[in-house]
């Protein structure tokens, strides 16, 4: 049958069947499709962003801060394939896996209003995993795709009509205005990373140069989510779906939510630093040069920055001599760099243009609560 006739027939069928199940997710073993819709992981219909069949939404205990963007995370694996349990590193996902992360902001009550979006806490997508497009502005969807040769990262930027996202390998800056509940406004240069910058964070092993997912680690996933109105542990749910195997019995690693009032200040701060800093600041990561490691597996206090001299911080020291001075957050470099939005000072280096005030307060409080220690001169 000539190809054109197949295509025409299919197109007509789709036109006639908007409410029917869409075509399945498409994994591309090579190439870089120009449109997000080529993958069909998420799709827009009836003014909603929908998740395709077998596309599983998930959340992290503590997310990376990205200019107050909300994030819809999904994972999809080919039929019959599953990720394998890893105690520390990201789950070992099979070839064919597509992880998506859609960055979006709620819009003011009156609907879309130029570049104005709301600065609110991320309460997650709607119960079906999708998003109502009259209530949110989609900014970008990043894909991490596991191919035979390894992971690739592809950033797609949504058009202003919110109908399609296009591959933007070279990244760009998007001006936004964040409107807070108290009416205050803040300008954001929302940075879509270029493809090489994706590796700036996801190249968690500097030596191999390979890139990996950061969020889907056991300790970040090990909490309840709501499935069809019922609470269930995400890892257990993934196993039920056939998306995860090799999970050992017993207690699994778990980070608390950084803003969970029931968790200890120390656990919350370490969880926050783990997800926001640990992909670079680890024994293998790009910031291993600094000697300051903030991932969950680092327990040495000097390595965590206590009374540690900076190495290559430049103006990033803020005229403070140690990374963390226990009991003295205002003498410590760590909260200074978190509290800056100067590219030459701020940490993390990529991924935000405004300060995460709540995160800075957490780290400030954490250092203030440490028993005071004299680091030296």
């Amino acid at each position: 049958m000539p190809m054109r006739r197949i295509v025409t027939a299919l197109g007509l069928a789709l036109l006639a069947a908007c409410t029917r199940a869409p075509a399945p997710v498409q994994f591309f073993a090579e190439g870089m499709p120009e449109r997000l819709s080529d993958w069909n992981v998420v799709y827009v219909a009836d003014n909603r962003l929908h998740l395709n069949a077998r596309v599983q939404p998930y959340t992290l205990d503590s997310p990376l801060f990205t200019d107050y963007a909300h994030k819809l995370r999904t994972v999809w694996m080919p039929e019959g394939k599953a990720a394998h349990y890893q105690p520390v590193d990201a789950l070992d996902f099979p070839v064919g896996t597509i992880i998506s992360k859609t960055f979006y902001y709620p819009v003011p009550d009156g609907g879309h209003n130029g570049d104005v979006v709301l600065r609110t806490a991320d309460t997650g997508p709607e119960p079906d995993g999708g998003l109502a497009l009259n209530k949110v502005r989609l900014v970008e969807t990043r894909l991490l795709v596991r191919r035979e040769a390894g992971w690739i990262a592809l950033p797609y930027v949504w058009n202003t009509e919110q109908t399609e996202a296009r591959l933007m390998r070279s990244g760009e800056l998007l001006p936004l205005t964040l409107l807070a509940a108290d009416g205050s406004k803040e300008q954001v240069d929302y940075a879509v990373p270029d493809e090489n910058q994706c590796a700036g964070c996801h190249g968690t092993d500097l030596k191999s140069k390979a890139i990996f997912p950061i969020g889907p680690k056991v300790r970040h996933l090990n909490h309840d989510a709501t499935y069809a109105g019922r609470a269930e542990n995400q890892l257990a749910h993934w196993q039920t779906l056939g998306y995860l195997t090799g999970v050992p019995a017993g207690n699994l690693p778990k980070n608390p939510a950084w803003d969970d009032p029931a968790a200890s200040l120390d656990d919350r701060a370490r969880s926050y630093l783990d997800i926001n800093c640990g992909h670079c600041h680890s024994q293998k990561g790009a910031a291993r040069t600094s000697g300051m490691w903030l991932d969950a597996t680092t327990h040495d206090l000097l390595r965590q920055g206590r009374c540690k001299l900076p190495i290559a911080a430049g103006q990033g020291t803020g005229n403070r001599p140690w990374d963390i001075v226990p009991g003295k957050p205002d003498d410590s470099i760590l909260p200074y760099r978190m509290g800056s939005n100067d590219p030459g000072v701020m940490m993390p280096e990529l991924g935000r243009s405004v300060v995460h005030a709540e995160g800075v307060k957490l780290i400030h409080d954490w250092i203030a609560a440490m028993p005071a220690q004299d680091c030296g001169r």
Binding site: N159, S170, L309
Partner: protein, 406 residues
């Protein structure tokens, strides 16, 4: 087959668009940002393949985000450090101008200006060549300038030559945690540190000019890093009048370097300093010190780290002037007490921290210097000594660094 699948997908895409009765609109072009060759270059770096030579034409090209490269075997080449300029003035994101994580990278004949953070950083890479590159903060020395100009770190086999670094708020040319390094025929001026070799094994620094910096050439070893430094030769350099006020942010290791420092050895072992012209550095032409003098004193935290400078061989240099106006109250008082109002410090200043367990002493061997003062840092500068006898020794010459590049 693949083509057909793509065809099907396109048809489905049309179908979905039709559902909303909206057409798919072209790229949401940014109203801000990079134009012309800047956009071209960013894409070339994304699409680079091993063996590519990416040419930068003459002209000044503006970037509002840092550039990066992750493909091995690429050359980025301009028309000359005065002609092809990558300008990061007004940069909005990224902690450096150009960031490379790739083996066999060559950067040559261009300039990187006014990056918010470091100028050019190359990390965890082998066979790095930087030739004829200028990194400059064009507003002159400022604390708000980026930290490092040229910044190879965790690299193996690094050649930096015929390059220039101006205005860095930390070090103009900085090589850190690397192995097998040559820095030669380059010029560093008006940085806090002109040229700095830190926690690096096997480095030759020669035929360079370091002038107008706070400190000319620094060989540093810092605790809690991936490796300790060892075996560095500093020779045939001109280290002249490095008397710029220290504009480094407090807390950076170089912020403790006194203005007027010629060559500074800090906590490193196996250093040979010879055949240099070192003149007019107002604190001292040569300083030999420990991290204890740079604010680091927690013994427990240092672990395996050796904080003491040992086996330092200074010989056959051309030393003159300097030492006449040391920076900092402790050193001013020291000079006044030992040499009087109109006197000057001798060529070599040693802070006096030694490992008491080491029977043979620190083996700091000084030949052909006007004198040395042991400042008695451990004793709070109370009992400084002008005795040159402990420094009258000889060490074997260190071998030359061979990058095996033919």
């Amino acid at each position: 087959m693949k083509r057909m699948r793509l065809g099907l997908l396109m048809a489905m895409g049309l179908g979905l668009a039709a559902c909303q009765q909206k057409s798919v609109v072209a790229d949401p072009a940014s109203p801000m940002g990079e134009q012309g060759f800047a956009t071209v270059l960013r894409n070339k770096l994304l699409d680079a393949k091993s063996g590519d030579v990416i040419e930068v034409p003459a002209g000044t090209f503006h970037f509002d985000r840092s550039l990066s490269l992750r493909v091995d075997g690429v050359t980025l080449r301009g028309q000359g450090m005065g002609k092809s300029v990558l300008s990061f003035k007004g940069q909005k994101t990224g902690a450096e101008g150009l960031l490379v994580n790739a083996n066999g990278f060559t950067l040559e004949n261009l300039a990187i200006e006014d990056s918010k953070g470091d100028g050019f950083k190359i990390s965890q890479s082998e066979n790095v060549t930087i030739r004829g590159v200028r990194v400059e903060w064009t507003g002159g020395p400022k604390t708000s300038n980026g930290g490092y100009g040229l910044y190879p770190v965790l690299c193996k086999n690094v050649l930096i030559e015929h390059s220039v670094a101006i205005g860095a708020a930390d070090s103009g040319i900085y090589v850190g945690q690397s192995r097998d390094v040559i820095v030669r025929n380059s010029r560093a001026e008006r940085n806090v540190a002109g040229i700095e070799i830190e926690n690096t094994v096997n480095a030759d620094v020669y035929d360079n000019v370091a002038t107008g910096n706070t400190g000319g050439i620094l060989v540093f070893n810092m605790p809690a890093l991936t490796q300790q430094g060892d075996a560095v030769r500093v020779f045939r350099n001109k280290v002249v009048e490095n008397n710029h006020e220290n504009f480094g942010a407090k807390g950076t290791p170089v912020a403790s370097v006194p203005a007027g420092s010629g060559v500074v050895i800090n906590s490193n072992d196996n250093i040979e300093i010879f055949d240099n012209d070192i003149t007019g550095n107002k604190t001292a032409n040569i300083i030999i010190s420990s991290v204890y003098s740079t604010g680091y004193k927690d013994d427990k935290a240092s672990g395996e780290f050796d904080p003491y400078p040992e086996r330092i061989y200074v010989h056959d240099n051309h030393l003159s002037g300097g030492g006449d106006a040391p920076d900092g109250l402790d050193l001013k008082a020291l000079k006044l007490a030992l040499y009087g109002l109109n006197g000057h410090m001798p060529d070599v200043l040693f802070d006096g921290y030694v490992n008491p367990q080491r029977k043979e002493g620190p083996q700091i061997c000084l030949h052909g210097v006007s004198g040395v003062v042991n400042a008695d840092g451990p004793g709070g500068y109370k009992n400084p000594s002008k005795d040159g006898k402990p420094f009258d020794c000889t060490l074997p010459a260190l071998p030359a660094v061979d990058l095996k590049r033919g």
